[in-house]
Subunit: 264 residues, 4 copies
């Protein structure tokens, strides 16, 4: 193993504020984004890595994302506004996530998407590297997974010696293109990105995608699996995601309880 | 993936109070139901979803179940009375669980049953989708599982495009019918329902059914498994469930300790 | 499933005090036994079930064991003295563990043994039911496991319709006989019993037997496994168990920290 | 099983202070070493066993390591200075880790290495004993693992009846020699040793090596796996490890929060 080269580009990067600030995002939206960071950590979807964004509620060509830091400690002061090109509006010298291009390009490609989670959760990573295996809806809570989630193979876009990260807009566009017929895309040897109409829904999906992967790993070892049909997936999606308020309220109450009396 | 359609029926529903209130249930019964909700959450049997009911101790044609909410936060004010048809008696505008029909129809079909748990615990779901595999008693704590738990395949009752949920009395009756010779029924791609003579016993069974499933998943990967014989299952059931007070007292003390000083 | 029969014998039993009290056991020994109960719970070896005993330090024909209760809540007031026949000396009406015969008969058969743990830990149970598989030392911390732990098949002693429990002295003697050449015996569909020269050592062994089982389950799924040789097992046993004070001190400090400020 | 022999050498040993103290190490370095002990415990890499060392910042021929104790409770008063031969400089009668020879010989063989972790984490041990299987980089966070970590088979150095421990300088040199082309070496039936340029980096690597092993165990059971190419491993290493400050800051904040108000 060689040491990091002088030309390495860290995951946390400095980026100048090149765009003009506009109307401020709703404080309620920012508060939801903060608590979503905590929930994703509490539920084991992210550790010190992974991130969640939301489209700006006043300007659909902008999105909000924490500065470069561990999600579990994010506060409202840590939220930065970005253009869809991934340029920070108000970073004011704070380092930002290298992989912000995932969010910008997905928001651009899917105007209906309001929130995006990128993570490396524990059962998604192994599923992403097994040849011929696709994440597929196995239970009623994960209808959004559908009949076989696409897998983003970065070798098709950047050759076989990349760092696997979505480190520029071109790679972001490659990944975003796979969301044409899917709300979740696995990334080989890396993790997944999942999209939804709201913060509660995308948090719900990130948590249940991990569970679906876990159950699929376990069931596949025992024999042939009965997956959901396309009709079942759609019906489950319609029904279960008709409201995600129940789990959201609960996870929020837990996240607040855990942080009671702490600085964070 | 399409967005939820306008005609979707959420898991939490509004239902008018159509039945007449009668004698109030025992406060001790309600207290046990509340703590059972907490225990099932603490032990990982339910997350933000899943529910437990108890038959009304004054009126066997009624049962008690929390309003639509996460079990971990239930208080006595959240308990709602229902008829066996699943009609709320005193919801007073609070949303109720869509799947209350599971409880009503099982209480109707099995007059000996006093308590019901429906959940999606982590090892039950994968076992429910493997073709040709049945949950089977593997250790002395799970004699109630017997020699192969039936699996409810909703396609046999509602076709291959349902949302997998027990969303009306007809589906509830279909499921309830499978309890003729069993105290636990798996539901393909969904979870399980387990019944017992009391709240402590049904909580015990929900927890140990999950463990039995977990051990079965692990053992099956290594080779042929020696399951309990019918005689062993029955003897274990007689012996171990002769009293469930020991674990119940312990889980209760833990649940209270964890909630000490919290709002809940 | 039938309800418990009228003739069922619960796990917790009433037993009259038939023996004469003698010299009191050392308070330090009782304190270690109490904290050992807590450690075994904290480390996941026991849940609401399972128990640990120690030989009486003044009378080798007696042993100490908690009254019938969950190990995590045991205090010094809950410790009961027993004869090797499993007769309580000072139960004073408190219910006792049905399976106390495990401890008495093992102490009788193995005069060198000072402490015994019986448990149903999560990786031991599945290993106990796979045909042709034996728990075998896989890493340096588990030399005491040796070259293949015997499995107690209760059908050989009580037929194929027992409740799998060691509910009398005859079954206890059957189990104890398997400790002639082993310090750990698996019990099919039930769990394991492990013995040692002291409380810290038996706690150590119960914890690391579970880890050995877990690693063995995982490794066996990937291919042929290199187990420890007999020479390695013995050398590891000599070296690692030469002192168990390091983990014992640490587990004890954790157990006390967790119970700080609680009633227990 | 025989009892420990009279000639057994415990894991904790007494060693006289034979070398001369020199310039004191930086307090900041010692503080980082203390918190690293806590993080490795919190993240499940070590339990009551395992250790982390750092090269002395004033004298490259010395290193710092805790006295013999569980890492989770280490304080700055517990840090001892050693020569590369493993001789304590200031143990002052406190017992030291038997396996300090791992650290000394690796620091000697690899002048570029500044920090070393030796542990028995839960997925590394099973991978270390499966014939023909090597730990291999499976995701972008573990580029440092490379194309197949070497496995140290102690039978090649000490015969087939050792205690598997690195109990002298000769065995330490045997292990250290395997770091010529690797930053992580598995030890059959024992665990692993991982090296890096700094404390934060070696902690990062120990945590993510365990995750890589866990994902590899799971993925291998499902089919053929796409591992990282050599180019991808190197690019991931360059990029991701260009900074490990993000996870380090987060783990540190968690470790401090957990120990708030405790004696430790």
């Amino acid at each position: 193993m060689c040491p990091p080269s002088d030309h390495s580009h860290p995951i946390a990067v400095d980026a100048p504020d090149t765009a003009t600030p506009g109307a401020a995002a709703s404080p309620a939206l920012i508060e939801d984004l903060v608590i979503a960071n905590h929930i994703l950590f509490d539920q084991g979807v992210v550790d010190a890595f992974g991130h969640i964004s939301v489209r700006h509620d006043k300007r659909p060509d902008r999105f909000l994302l924490a500065r470069n830091m561990a999600p579990g400690n994010v506060t409202s002061d840590d939220i930065v506004e970005f253009t869809l090109d991934g340029e920070p509006v108000d970073a004011r010298g704070r380092k930002v996530y290298l992989e912000r291009f995932i969010h910008g390009e997905v928001f651009r490609a899917r105007p209906d998407v309001m929130a995006v989670v990128h993570s490396h959760s524990h059962s998604i990573v192994p599923l992403s590297v097994v040849k011929g295996v696709k994440l597929q809806a196995i239970f009623h809570m994960a209808g959004f997974v559908g009949q076989g989630a696409p897998v983003f193979e970065i070798r098709d876009f950047g050759g076989d010696s990349t760092d696997l990260l979505i480190s520029d807009n071109a790679l972001g566009r490659g990944l975003a293109g796979m969301f044409a017929d899917a709300d979740i895309v696995l990334m080989r040897g890396h993790g997944s990105t999942v999209v939804a109409k709201s913060i509660p829904q995308v948090v719900y999906r990130a948590i249940y995608a991990e569970l679906n992967a876990r159950y699929q790993l376990q069931a596949s070892q025992l024999g042939d699996v009965t997956y959901l049909t396309a009709g079942e997936s759609q019906a489950c999606l319609d029904r279960v995601e008709g409201q995600t308020q129940r789990p959201w309220d609960f996870w929020k109450s837990q996240a607040r309880e855990r942080r009671r009396g702490t600085a964070g």
